[in-house]
């Protein structure tokens, strides 16, 4: 319906850029991270690596 993105929140270390409905984007995380949608700043998530 609307564009979103996936952006690392603390240092803006990585970001997908805007993605339209149905788009996909991949990253191989090397550390835990908080991420959010920089377009809709209330949409947040967390990556926790299993050790």
């Amino acid at each position: 319906m609307v564009a979103h993105d996936v952006t690392e929140e603390t240092h803006k270390a990585w970001a997908s850029g805007p993605m339209q409905t149905g788009a996909t984007w991949k990253i191989i995380p090397t550390s835990d991270a908080d991420y959010y949608c920089s377009i809709h700043a209330v949409m947040k998530g967390k990556i926790v690596l299993a050790r």
Partner: protein
């Protein structure tokens, strides 16, 4: 009991004044699909215009960011609604609800135009919070239940999560301005 009733009457009076869209919800006007399409386009266009006004008047980064999101998201919804009504061969039809929306929005725009700086930011964001609450209620309680065409109904249902996110986003910016 009397106090409760008085409070309830007061609450209704306040909501009638603040959220004219809810007035429509309470009366539940009967709308046809072409009229619903017109209300949907008007409601989106109003928020695009408000966002453009905020972009020219605000210097606050969070307000600017929010305004950009409103412009882009509501443009995207209008585009999808226009594509759908074209496909369905429906011509959006002006009606009492869409006219009331536009009239209220014109009044709001004039009132915001007279403000600047932080007073503008607060007034714009407060209005965005109230507007999204009113729109969510109208789409949910008036437009979706009355829509006949399944694809148009689905489109309105698909818009709901974005509207809720916009409301939360507006409330977040509202807090940051205090």
């Amino acid at each position: 009991m009397k106090t409760t009733r008085t409070l309830a009457a007061f609450a209704i009076a306040v909501s009638l004044q603040l959220f004219s869209l809810n007035v429509s919800a309470q009366k539940s006007p009967k709308l046809t699909d072409p009229e619903i399409a017109s209300v949907a386009v008007a409601a989106n266009q109003i928020d695009i215009t408000a966002g453009e006004q905020a972009k020219t008047k605000s210097k606050d980064k969070e307000v600017q960011n929010f305004a950009n999101t409103m412009i882009n998201d509501h443009r995207s919804v209008i585009k999808q609604a226009s594509d759908l009504v074209k496909k369905l061969n429906v011509t959006p039809k002006d009606n009492a609800v869409s006219r009331k929306l536009m009239a209220d929005a014109n009044r709001t725009r004039k009132s915001l135009a007279s403000k600047s700086g932080k007073a503008f930011d607060k007034a714009y964001v407060n209005n965005e919070v109230a507007y999204h609450k009113a729109v969510i209620s109208t789409v949910e309680n008036v437009l979706i239940p009355q829509t006949q065409n399944a694809e148009l109904k689905q489109l309105l249902q698909n818009v709901m999560p974005a509207l809720r996110t916009h409301l939360e986003h507006a409330q977040m910016v509202q807090k940051s301005l205090k």
